[in-house]
């Protein structure tokens, strides 16, 4: 038995996992319309490659990555692009964002795709490139482009590659089902990622409340007779599936604050990401579907579905016997870290692991003042002092909040769930975090504006001096009559242009009257 470590705090939560693991995973129905947001990942939104009316095939790249931290988007089925515009997205803001809408043709015709014969012949950077082009991002929930995480850098050595199968949040079982049903794909994906990272050992961390998944993976590893890969059952304690917490439990190492696992020789990937990598390399398939858990008290047949990205969430709820009206509360994600969906027309995206239907109208607990009991501090897996953070965030004293390490908070929700006064602590931290980020952006913009203004003043000063010097020069020689005539003509040119444009505008005002926005 290998040694395990402990992270501070954490909670034992009721699992609610059995509800959705009773039936095996089935493919969700092909929806009539697929809505694919251009941003389903952390980083820059992708740039659309198609236009309305284009016929596209399944697996075809319809938006390309823009920049380093970005990921392309692929069509999850064949059909016609009917709209590129603002649509509701699954995001806590409830805002709309740019999406490509595809009307499916029901044929589900694949674009010809090309598997890699032997990934071991490829060098890591070529592997990463295929993974990048396949649009793979972390499927555990964060959505960070995977190819970046598979780049260890020239000077770093990765001694441990961790596969995260902990899935610690209640109700969510999509990784559990994936591990039960496709253990070979996960292990194959793990091999590919290990090759990309040139990592030595691999550990698959799974909470011990998932014995079937542990058995399935252990059997595959046993049959393959591979060394340096092991399944590590870990105690079930939320949030053991948090990246930093899992690394601590499995290796005893702490990811430094503001640092990356890479800095301590570890890379951590989700099990579903491993499958996506396997399919991208072995079959040449981009990321176009994922397992999604549909569960919660408001769902009649809780289960897992394999869902094409872009499927409207409402259709999933309908397929599981839920009541998809907008009056109930539906969360994307689990009960601890999920957020309420404002609109069920929002699609499943790469980071959608779970759709949770709350019981209708849970009675609201009265919120009382903080009694400083400190239960939150005991529950915090990062050893923060949640109540101090709360006081300062609530008072909008952001400097103070940061001095209590606000940005080390992983928003796991442990503090909120134990608070006897029912204070929504994490909401305060999220408020403070986004507010600080906005202030910093504002500050940077102000600094740029100041620099540019000062530069302009200097330039004007310099131009003035140069003009004065030229003027002096000209005075010496006689003025050229041609130039003065040209100068006289200039206002006439402007006047003519003004008249021209005014006439044109009068005409256009009558017809449309609208001004096309630039962006």
């Amino acid at each position: 038995m290998n040694k395990l470590w402990r992270f501070p705090g954490g909670l034992h939560l009721p699992g609610h996992k059995d509800e959705s693991t009773a039936v095996s995973v089935a493919a969700a129905q092909l929806p009539r319309f697929l809505v694919l947001p251009l941003q389903q990942h952390i980083g820059e939104p992708a740039k659309a490659l198609v236009k309305v009316g284009d016929h596209i095939l399944k697996g075809q790249m319809i938006a390309k990555a823009s920049g380093y931290v970005s990921a392309p988007v692929h069509a999850s089925s064949s059909g016609t692009v009917v709209e590129i515009g603002e649509r509701p997205i699954p995001h806590p803001s409830g805002l709309h964002a740019l999406c490509i809408v595809i009307e499916t043709d029901g044929q589900d015709t694949w674009l010809p795709h090309h598997p890699v014969e032997d990934y071991r012949q490829l060098d890591p950077s070529a592997l990463r490139n295929i993974i990048r082009e396949a649009g793979i991002v972390g499927l555990g929930g964060a959505g960070f482009p995977t190819y970046i995480k598979l780049n260890r850098g020239a000077d770093k050595v990765i001694d441990t590659l961790i596969l995260n199968g902990a899935e610690c949040e209640p109700y969510i079982t999509c990784d559990d089902m994936l591990m039960r049903e496709r253990p070979e794909e996960i292990i194959a994906g793990l091999f590919i990622m290990r090759h990309a990272l040139q990592a030595r050992a691999c550990i698959i961390g799974i909470e011990d409340n998932k014995p079937h998944a542990i058995d399935a993976l252990a059997r595959v590893i046993h049959d393959l007779k591979v060394k340096d890969i092991r399944v590590a059952p870990i105690p079930t304690r939320y949030p053991a599936g948090g990246e930093k917490q899992l690394i601590k439990v499995l290796t005893g190492r702490e990811v430094p604050s503001n640092g990356l696992p890479l800095h301590i020789g570890v890379v951590c990937q989700n099990v579903a990401t491993a499958t996506a990598v396997y399919r991208a390399i072995t079959y040449g398939e981009p990321l176009i579907s994922r397992y999604v858990t549909v569960s919660g008290p408001g769902i009649q047949q809780p289960r897992n579905l394999e869902v094409l990205l872009g499927t409207p969430i409402r259709e999933l709820i309908e397929q599981c016997g839920g009541a998809p009206d907008d009056s109930g509360t539906f969360l994307m994600g689990g009960p601890m870290m999920g957020f309420p969906l404002h609109n069920l027309a929002a699609p499943v995206i790469k980071t959608t692991n779970c759709i949770l239907a709350q019981p209708p109208a849970a009675p609201a607990q009265p919120v009382l003042p903080c009694i400083r009991c400190g239960v939150c501090a005991e529950a915090c897996p990062v050893s923060l002092l949640p109540q101090q953070l709360y006081w300062h965030a609530a008072a909008k004293d952001f400097t103070k909040a940061q001095s209590y390490n606000l940005f080390d908070c992983i928003e796991c929700g442990c503090c909120t769930s134990v608070c006897p006064s029912n204070i929504q602590l994490v909401d305060y931290y999220r408020f403070a975090k986004t507010e600080i980020a906005a202030q910093e952006l504002e500050k940077r913009k102000a600094d740029t504006a100041r620099n540019r203004h000062e530069f302009r003043l200097q330039r004007l000063e310099r131009d003035k001096a140069e003009r004065a010097a030229r003027h002096e020069q000209k005075k010496a020689s006689l003025s050229d009559p041609a130039t003065s005539a040209k100068n006289d003509a200039k206002p006439d040119v402007i006047q003519a242009a003004i008249e021209r444009v005014q006439a044109k505008r009068a005409a256009s005002d009558e017809s449309s009257g609208s001004v096309p926005a630039q962006h």
Partner: protein
């Protein structure tokens, strides 16, 4: 449209402030029972009267401050304050003392500072200290344990004594009162007596501490351990307070057994256990960091011993708690835990 401020569902049978307070009251019950056994029903009358005063004061202040009354009245914090204060008063303390102490605790020490969660000082202890300083004679007139005095007062006799000052016919106050063991020890020691002799000289002393008081302390200890077992309070503050007091007492006891009482005597006398498990652990006014709680509890233990031994008052838990209340914010500032991923 979901409520945008709703972000995650309650996943646990969430504890609430009122449940915490209720369990604190349950845990006090064995100690209160022992109190009644040894000192008669006066303490129950005091508790009930203090409860009425506390709830009325709380409701009145909430109304004046234009706060909703119901959630705060039901949170149980005023009730706990009332019970703790009543337990600190002499068993037959006249009603107006209970009234003044409780009203001061709730109105001034709690509500004027902003109510639940915002008071820097333990309200019950403020009420107690106000009474002790204002009415020192009444506050130090304790009943002798009934087993010592041979008289026992029923519920209605006690109520009559408290509200009208009349004892049952044939009974005089002098006949049923006695100095507390801590008080008696201090007085005799100051007169040059030997501590061991003193403890054997009077029937008010028991095996460990004072007769009766040792049982009450023991049962408060049991109630406190139950609270720790139920995770209502953490072990840090009581353990640190008891340990610090024991060490202090042990050092001086070893140095001179003639002038200092044993550690056990200190632990099982006065308000030690009530203070350690029920008063010092008041979360609003205590330290909140794990390490800070240890310093905070130890401070109370040390101050209690110092004031008991060399100060002007017989017991000192209240003063020690208030002194450490003052220090709590500073302790918290300097005892922040190491955050995950940070170096020390």
């Amino acid at each position: 449209m979901p409520n945008p401020s709703f972000s995650s569902a309650p996943m646990r049978e969430a504890s609430s402030v009122s449940k915490v307070m209720l369990q604190v009251i349950y845990a006090l019950m064995p100690g209160i029972a022992a109190y009644v056994w040894f000192y008669g029903w006066g303490v129950v009358v005091n508790i009930l009267f203090a409860l009425v005063v506390a709830l009325l004061s709380e409701a009145g202040m909430l109304a004046l401050r234009q706060r909703p009354i119901k959630p705060f009245l039901y949170d149980g914090s005023a009730a706990v304050t009332a019970v703790l204060l009543a337990l600190s008063l002499p068993p037959l303390a006249p009603w107006w003392m209970t009234l003044i102490g409780t009203a001061f605790a709730i109105i001034v020490a709690k509500q004027l500072y902003g109510g639940l969660g915002f008071n820097p000082f333990n309200p019950a202890m403020i009420g107690y200290v106000v009474l002790l300083i204002s009415f020192p004679r009444e506050m130090t007139t304790w009943l002798a344990p009934e087993v010592v005095s041979g008289h026992s007062l029923g519920f209605f006799d006690s109520a009559r004594a408290i509200f009208s000052g009349q004892l049952p016919t044939g009974l005089h106050m002098d006949a049923i009162t006695a100095a507390t063991p801590l008080d008696a020890l201090k007085t005799r020691l100051s007169m040059g007596h030997n501590a061991t002799e003193v403890m054997h000289s009077s029937p008010i002393f028991g095996v460990l501490g004072g007769k009766g008081v040792e049982w009450i302390n023991g049962l408060f200890l049991a109630g406190g351990l139950w609270l720790i077992y139920k995770r209502i309070i953490s072990w840090h503050i009581p353990a640190a307070m008891v340990a610090a007091m024991s060490i202090m007492a042990l050092v001086f006891y070893i140095a001179n057994t003639g002038t200092h009482a044993s550690p056990l005597f200190h632990l099982f006398s006065g308000a030690t256990m009530l203070g350690a498990f029920f008063i010092a652990t008041d979360p609003v006014t205590a330290s909140t960091t794990p390490r800070g709680k240890l310093y905070y509890g130890a401070g109370i233990g040390i101050f209690t011993y110092i004031i008991r031994t060399w100060g002007g008052y017989p017991d000192a838990v209240a003063f020690a708690v208030l002194l450490m209340n003052m220090a709590a914010p500073m302790i918290d500032q300097y005892t922040q835990p190491r955050v995950f991923g940070h170096k020390d």
